[in-house]
């Protein structure tokens, strides 16, 4: 998995690509989010458009990121989960946990 962070105002947009899976993608996601929190930012938008799939470890890490941001009074929201990733969020009922957007601008103003 690859990640790239764009800071737009007070929101850190993380463009992810690849697979969020056990042992690699999940660790990469954890590190990316931890860096943002360590830098004192806490509003995080994960752009999932180019994430092809996740396994249960990757899904667990998404939740872990959500909780870590929450602890710092921040939030993690999702942009454009596509195909399989969308199915997984709906199957695990995590749609109820994550605010999810199709449009980046709409997502940005929601923070």
């Amino acid at each position: 998995m690859k990640s790239n962070v764009r800071q737009i105002g007070h929101v850190s947009v993380v463009d992810l690509s690849g697979k969020i899976t056990i042992g690699e993608g999940d660790v990469a996601l954890r590190n990316a989010v931890q860096e943002i929190l360590d830098a004192g930012n806490q509003h995080i938008l994960l752009n999932l458009e180019k994430v092809s799939y996740m396994d249960s470890a990757g899904i667990g890490e998404l939740v872990a990121c959500y909780k870590r941001a929450k602890e710092k009074e921040g939030s993690v929201k999702l942009l454009n989960p596509s195909g399989k990733v969308y199915d997984l969020l709906s199957l695990t009922k995590l749609e109820e946990v994550f605010d999810t957007f199709k449009d980046e601008k709409e997502a940005l103003v929601s923070f």
Partner: protein, 141 residues
């Protein structure tokens, strides 16, 4: 070996080998004639079951093996995942979609397995370990 189109894989209990097994499962699903989307689902189900065998069954003890049998059957695909662990009660695991569990960071593997294949059977073999069997039928018509 049961089926003419089948692959048996034997791996030590290491998470870094999961991707390889995952790809093999996708390939067999493709050979069996499943669509791209079903192939992804089967791959994910096998992946989760293999991760469980490595982590929970064998406690990531690399001296213990996981055996995966991928078989193209007359109806579709059958996958058997065998670990060397003490087994568990598959009905006794918490529902990860219950309100109170939504923020758990684990516990979703069995849900995914059950969602992505038609049938999942758990069979504890005395002195051997847990055997999980996944079945997925080809859509006909």
């Amino acid at each position: 070996m049961a089926a003419e189109t089948s692959v048996k894989l034997v791996i030590p209990s290491r998470v870094r080998l999961v991707d390889l097994v995952h790809s093999a499962a996708e390939k067999i699903a493709e050979i069996a004639g499943f669509s791209d989307d079903e192939m992804l689902n089967i791959g994910l189900a096998v992946r989760e079951a293999v991760i469980n065998a490595i982590k929970h069954g064998n406690g990531e003890d690399a001296s213990k093996e996981v055996e995966i049998l991928l078989e193209v059957t007359g109806r579709g695909l059958r996958v058997r995942i065998q670990d060397g662990g003490a087994g568990f009660d598959p009905e006794g695991t918490p529902d990860p979609t219950a309100e109170d569990n939504l923020l758990q960071t684990s516990g979703r593997g069995l849900l995914l397995i059950r969602a992505f294949v038609d049938d999942v059977r758990f069979n504890y073999k005395q002195g051997r370990g847990m055997e999980v069997t996944l079945e997925k039928a080809l859509k006909t018509g």
